[in-house]
């Protein structure tokens, strides 16, 4: 369970101009939720994702993950949360271009895991589960966008986190590849109970989630998920 309590984030642009990117947001996300955060750019959805992902601290309020207030943790404390409890998927994949797929997947734990063979084994089995068994030693530049994003999902799964955050994870993919990716995430959500929190400005994704949060001007409003009348994927009804 992760929860925002009266979370506010101010950005000071100059002496007099302040932007309230997040305004007194209360949001409780339960284990196993598949949450879609919708909203136009500048509505505060990325800021909220940064709070939930332990990348940033709120100006006021708290972020509670497993009874710990992330707002009170040190930089190293936040790093640990990101390493062990949260996985990230980005719009631009953000793989390290000099490393192979399997090395990218090992990245979150490579500074701390002494047993490199075990680490590699795990990374390989994750890539295999993503259908990338023949792409292990390929560099990101040798992979298609969809393949890169699947490597990124494998990397997000490396430390067995309970929560995976996606910042427009399908934003840079064609619609078919994007839907394939959403299906993978949905399967992980259903089969392993991993909580997904996905930021998107594409309303067609909303039907995948069991919850939809609409962001506007720093305020978060929960809206009912749309009926899958025109389902982009066949599994939306199983959510």
């Amino acid at each position: 369970m992760i929860e925002l309590k009266q979370a506010t984030k101010l950005y000071r642009l100059s002496e007099r101009v302040e932007v309230r990117a997040l305004d007194n947001v209360n949001l409780r996300i339960e284990d196993g939720d598949f949450v879609i955060i919708l909203g136009p750019s500048g509505s505060g959805k990325s800021t909220m994702l940064n709070m939930l992902g332990a990348l940033d601290r709120p100006t006021s309020g708290s972020v509670i993950l497993d009874d710990v207030d992330l707002a009170r943790l040190s930089d190293n404390g936040l790093s640990k949360i990101r390493r062990y409890k949260i996985g990230f998927i980005f719009q631009f994949f953000n793989l390290v271009t000099t490393l192979t797929a399997v090395e990218n997947v090992m990245l979150p734990l490579s500074p701390v895991e002494r047993n490199k063979a075990k680490l590699q084994q795990k990374a390989e089995s994750l890539l295999t589960s993503m259908g990338l068994e023949s792409r292990m030693d390929h560099r990101p530049t040798e992979l298609s966008g969809g393949e890169q994003q699947r490597v990124a999902i494998a990397r997000a799964l490396m430390a067995d986190p309970r929560i995976i955050l996606g910042d427009e994870p399908t934003g840079n993919l064609d619609s078919k590849t994007g839907h394939d990716l959403i299906r993978i995430m949905k399967e992980l959500n259903v089969e392993k109970g991993i909580t997904f929190i996905i930021v998107s400005h594409d309303p067609s994704i909303a039907s995948v989630g069991n919850r939809v949060i609409q962001m506007k001007d720093g305020h978060a409003t929960e809206v009912p998920p749309p009926n899958p009348t025109d389902p982009p994927t066949t599994f939306a009804s199983s959510a």
Binding site: D75, V96, T97, L107
Partner: protein, 377 residues
């Protein structure tokens, strides 16, 4: 972590190589310069080890002293032999100005006049280091015994004649002690040297004094100075101590000069690593986002710069050793002594440069904020 470091270095091959080269030149200079200084020191130590006698010279340099001093010192307790000598700076050899001759070595040849009998009994190494011909004998007049470097330089061998300051000598012997100072001597009979320098028949330049017991050498030296207040009696230890002060200063200066070159290489590391961090800002943002701590990022970049420093050190040591070996082979007059300590010190220095040069860039890398680094593509 290891993969990330290795690949970063390999991807930026040209930059890594140039950075390594910058360090290598500095470290190579350290190895070359310090090895020459240490070579000279070792040479000097051998020389001192070969000297077991007191050198008596006038306090006013180059001023002759009366030969009667020999008798005064011979009577002092502890003295077994006094060997007077006359020293003359050589002006011309075969009508060529010695000091203006471009083929000359580091040490100008010096003429020494010895009493053949007394010198032979003294602890001087020369009589025992004849490689061709013989040492001086009683009754020699225009005979000279040449050190091998001098014989080679002026193309003389046993049986040749050599013209020194307008006087013709027969080369009766060649010697080689292996000590460059000693081997640059031309040994002639005492009277002949006196003639050449136009010195009065009852005067000498100085004396070598052999003592009965080496442990007593300092006491004997003090006794000589008490008996003859106008002379300075120097023991090998004293010369060595003076020399060590001087050579210590030279070694320090050498290190300082060469270190400047190496530090410039270190600045190259800072430069290259800062560029590296700026280019990899996004990658660092990713590492931070997936849970790397400040310390882990810092360590990665520090290791990378330390590897650059170490590779530079290794290349520098190789350049220095190969270079000095080549130089000493081609120019035997140059002595170089490359000790394991020197190699270890040079490598350590390179490591410190690498780690030190990486501190600021690594700190910058560790301070990258993941959100800002990932915001723009």
């Amino acid at each position: 972590m290891r993969q990330l470091i290795i690949k970063s270095l390999l991807i930026r091959k040209v930059r890594s190589l140039l950075t390594v080269l910058g360090i290598a030149i500095g470290i190579g200079m350290i190895v070359a310069l310090v090895s020459v200084t240490e070579g000279l020191n070792a040479e000097a130590e051998d020389t001192f080890a070969g000297m077991q006698m007191i050198t008596v010279e006038p306090k006013q340099l180059l001023r002759p002293m009366p030969v009667s001093n020999v008798n005064t010192i011979e009577k002092l307790p502890g003295v077994t032999l006094v060997s007077p000598f006359v020293t003359a700076i050589v002006g011309t050899v075969d009508d060529v100005e010695v000091l203006e001759d471009a083929s000359g070595g580091l040490i100008p040849p010096t003429m020494r006049g010895y009493d053949p009998i007394r010198a032979k009994e003294s602890a001087s190494k020369i009589p025992d280091s004849i490689i061709r011909g013989r040492y001086l004998v009683d009754g020699d007049r225009n005979s000279v015994v040449l050190g091998k470097p001098i014989a080679d330089r002026f193309k003389k061998s046993y049986g040749s004649t050599i013209d020194i300051d307008g006087r013709t000598f027969n080369v009766v012997g060649i010697f080689e002690t292996g000590l460059i100072v000693t081997d640059n001597l031309m040994i002639v009979p005492l009277d002949t040297a006196r003639d050449l320098r136009n010195m009065a028949p009852d005067s000498i330049s100085g004396m070598s004094v052999v003592v009965d017991n080496q442990d007593n050498i300092t006491n004997v030296a003090r006794r000589i100075e008490q008996a003859l207040p106008q002379v300075r009696a120097t023991t090998p230890e004293e010369i060595q101590a003076d020399f060590e002060d001087l050579s210590g200063a030279i070694t320090t200066a050498t290190w300082v000069i060469a270190s400047v070159a190496a530090v410039v290489g270190g600045i190259g590391i800072i430069n290259s690593m800062v560029m590296n961090v700026m280019e990899r800002r996004r990658e660092i943002g990713v590492l931070k986002a997936v849970g790397w701590t400040r310390g882990e990022v810092l360590r990665t970049f520090l290791i990378e710069s330390t590897i650059l420093g170490f590779l530079g050190g290794l290349a520098g040591v190789i350049i220095g050793v190969v270079g000095m070996t080549a130089i000493t082979t081609l120019l035997p007059i140059v002595v170089a002594k490359i000790t394991p300590e020197l190699i270890i010190e040079a490598l350590l220095f390179a490591l410190i440069l690498g780690a030190g040069g990486g501190l600021y860039p690594a700190w910058r890398a560790a301070s990258v904020h993941p959100i800002e680094a990932l915001r723009y593509d």
